[in-house]
Symmetry: C2
Amino acid sequence: MSVVLRPSQALRLWQLVSLAEVTGGAHDLSFRQAAILLTVYLDPPPHTVRGLASRLGVTKPVITRALDTMGAMKLVSRHRDENDRRNVLVRRTVEGALYVERFGDVIIARAAELPA
Amino acid sequence: MSVVLRPSQALRLWQLVSLAEVTGGAHDLSFRQAAILLTVYLDPPPHTVRGLASRLGVTKPVITRALDTMGAMKLVSRHRDENDRRNVLVRRTVEGALYVERFGDVIIARAAELPA
DNA sequence: CGTTTTTGTTTCGGAACCGTATCATTGAAG
DNA sequence: CTTCAATGATACGGTTCCGAAACAAAAACG
């Protein structure tokens, strides 16, 4: 039990971070896209389409399309698995790492400003 | 400075909450929609299209469309302002209040589980 | 009155995304 | 070699959303 939040703090934190992302002109990610992006960046590789679909409880086309979009945003990249060429491995990018890092900073900053 | 988070905790929290929303079959809101919804529920009324557009730094049609969608989801409702009939007042709904309350519980639960 | 300003909605072409179903490629099994 | 299974992408019809522009309704102003 390391991080303790009250209801008003939890919701206010989410509001302030969301507002910061919107007004900051960042990518307008959905919950699904955010879940995919952060899973790729926080969980140990390898990440496959099937694995991500299973982790999120959605169908494979959902992942394929999200990777299309976030690939165009340069947030992730796709590569064939040379050991089993049926697999596609989802990997991090420099731009994606910068985006995630900056996003973490936004969360921390807004959390620090929350009223007690 | 009431809530202190380290970078890995901040990002992990966002991942776990996003995953919980996706796997839980909840609405797949975008940052914009979340910012609108939480602003309506956390900031004092009245909320107008113009005010929300200004708060988020987006154009009015963006708000109109988001209200269309979230209205269909029963998360918010629209009413004419009888004092100034040019205004549309965005109000909370029972379903929306339940959704927001449950969402806050998800954040708190995931925050409590974060490794120190 | 008529004109101007304010507010919110609608329209336009184009892009993203949905769920379901199907397809292409690859690997495994007989 | 020939099925069969697994993986990911694609096709389909439909919805949502985009920014920019035009629009309708209501209020304010003269």
